[in-house]
């Protein structure tokens, strides 16, 4: 049983590895990327500093102290540098440019292949991107350590689930985007909307009550808000377990949605003779 599982996983490991090596060729891009993430976190450092300054020393906003908020920002951007992938752009351009035929003749599952490539990329980003960005942010700003070893473990687990979640979301987005001719426009809008809905920019606690009620039933908060609260110990025990459970359930649900969309798309492609 285990042997069969391992041997069927082997081609996907190869995809992950190739993806890792491909990015290695573009190392310089990552050094520049570290700066990009640093600037993004920095602008939020100043905004929160000014807002907390208005409230006075030791104040809390939305249940966060200033050091907690700063930590939320830093762990959030570091995590984004890990979970970020371009599965959507990649799948869309494959379909557009007809390169998909080459993918289709491979005896593998396209969604699993795409996701292993995304995870391979994330593994690369973790080493050359997330860790340096994290260290830089910790050095420059007073970021709090995780409240406990357990909180760190939960954050890491949740972060891994975020990467799967983003991969699953992007696979769906890519398949929807190919139905328009302005794929890049759709993807650009997606980034901005997800930055808001994931809690990357502002924790969910700051949204108005009715919006918050809707947001907790959507997958997006699990990209950033869930791992951020785990690191800070704002979600512990049963609350933490429930958040992680929901996050995992969303991964499964969106992977299933992706398969349905893929089936619908693949059928159309064959009809066109692609």
């Amino acid at each position: 049983m285990l042997a069969t599982a391992l041997s069927s996983a082997r081609p996907y490991l190869a995809f992950a590895r190739t993806s890792f090596l491909n990015i290695l060729a573009y190392r310089a891009r990552y050094f520049v990327g570290i700066l990009t993430y640093f600037f993004n976190a920095t602008v939020w450092y100043y905004i929160w500093r000014a807002l907390f300054h208005e409230k006075g020393e030791g104040a809390t906003l939305g249940g966060f102290t200033f050091p907690q908020m700063l930590t939320y920002v830093a762990t959030g951007w570091a995590l984004r540098s890990f979970y970020f992938n371009e599965v959507d752009r990649d799948i869309a351009s494959q379909v557009r440019e007809g390169r998909l035929a080459m993918t289709l003749i491979k005896p593998v599952d396209v969604q699993a292949m795409t996701l292993s490539q995304a995870l391979g990329e994330s593994a690369f980003r973790l080493v050359l991107f997330t860790v340096p960005i994290g260290l830089l942010l910790v050095l420059v700003y007073p970021v709090l350590p995780p409240v406990s070893p357990a909180a760190l473990a939960l954050y890491l687990l949740s972060g891994l689930l975020s990467a799967l979640l983003v991969g699953a979301i992007n696979f769906c987005v890519g398949l929807v985007a190919i139905r328009t001719t302005s794929i890049l426009g759709v993807l650009r809008a997606k980034y901005l909307v997800l930055e808001l809905l994931s809690g990357l920019l502002v924790p969910v606690a700051f949204f108005p009550e009715p919006v918050r009620k809707v947001l907790v039933w959507l997958p997006f908060l699990h990209m950033n808000d869930t791992p951020g609260r785990l690191w800070l110990g704002l979600a512990t025990g049963a609350d933490a377990a429930r958040s992680l459970g929901l996050q995992a359930a969303w991964v499964v649900a969106l992977l299933a949605l992706g398969r349905l969309l893929w089936r619908a798309t693949a059928r159309r492609i064959e009809v066109q003779g692609g």
Binding site: L35, T36, V43, Y46, I47, V186, L192
Partner: protein, 265 residues
Amino acid sequence: MRRVRFHARLLALYFAQYAKARLAYRADFAAAVLASFLGTAASFSVVLLLFSRFPHLAGWTYPEIVFLYGFSLLPYGLFSVVSSNLWDFADRYLVEGRFDRILLRPVSPLFQVLFESFRLESLQEVATGAVAIGWAVSRLPDVSPLGLALLPLWAVFGAVIYVSVFGLLTAASFWVEDRVGLAPPVFNLMSFGRYPITIYDLKVKLLLSTVIPFAFASFYPTALALGRGEFLPYFWAVPLVAVAFALLNVALWRRGIARYGSTGS
């Protein structure tokens, strides 16, 4: 003067031609505008979320913050409309050899690169920004009429600053083989200009007012309208900064083109 008139007419023709092609697929264009608007709305909601709850930021009221953010969308939107070719200039023009075609025509190469295609849907950012400014003005007791009247012109200067800074970064690809470029982090610096510059430390203020002069594109232009006397000298310096960076940009492109050797493809 004749050259300016010639280029202005040419710009109008380029734009009309591109718009016609784009509008041929109306539903698709509508979808692009909608997507673009959703993105802008999402970024704007962050500002609304935060500052409607905490209506003061370093001495700025909520309508003033909305005004600032709304204004920042004007130069940014104009910049987005014309900047799409700068992003993949190295790939599209230098590597794929399209630049040779540009050099054959008796029109400024930089002009052609900028205006060969437009991101029309980004005009929605200009419209959204204008609506935000309108809302803010209705809430602010004494906005200077002269300051308001000059805003559109200052937005154009702001767009010139953005285009020039990214033009300078793009021109580097005439010299540097590795085409990664510094554009992405600099692009992210633009978001600093959307908030009152008073929230930053001296080093950030200096950066945004000198090397990467984004404060002149989106913060200082609001000083006259919002009656912020301390920033007025910077307000009046905006046209000078725009002209200076535009000239610098043109000069660097000239030198880059002089150095350019075709791939021969």
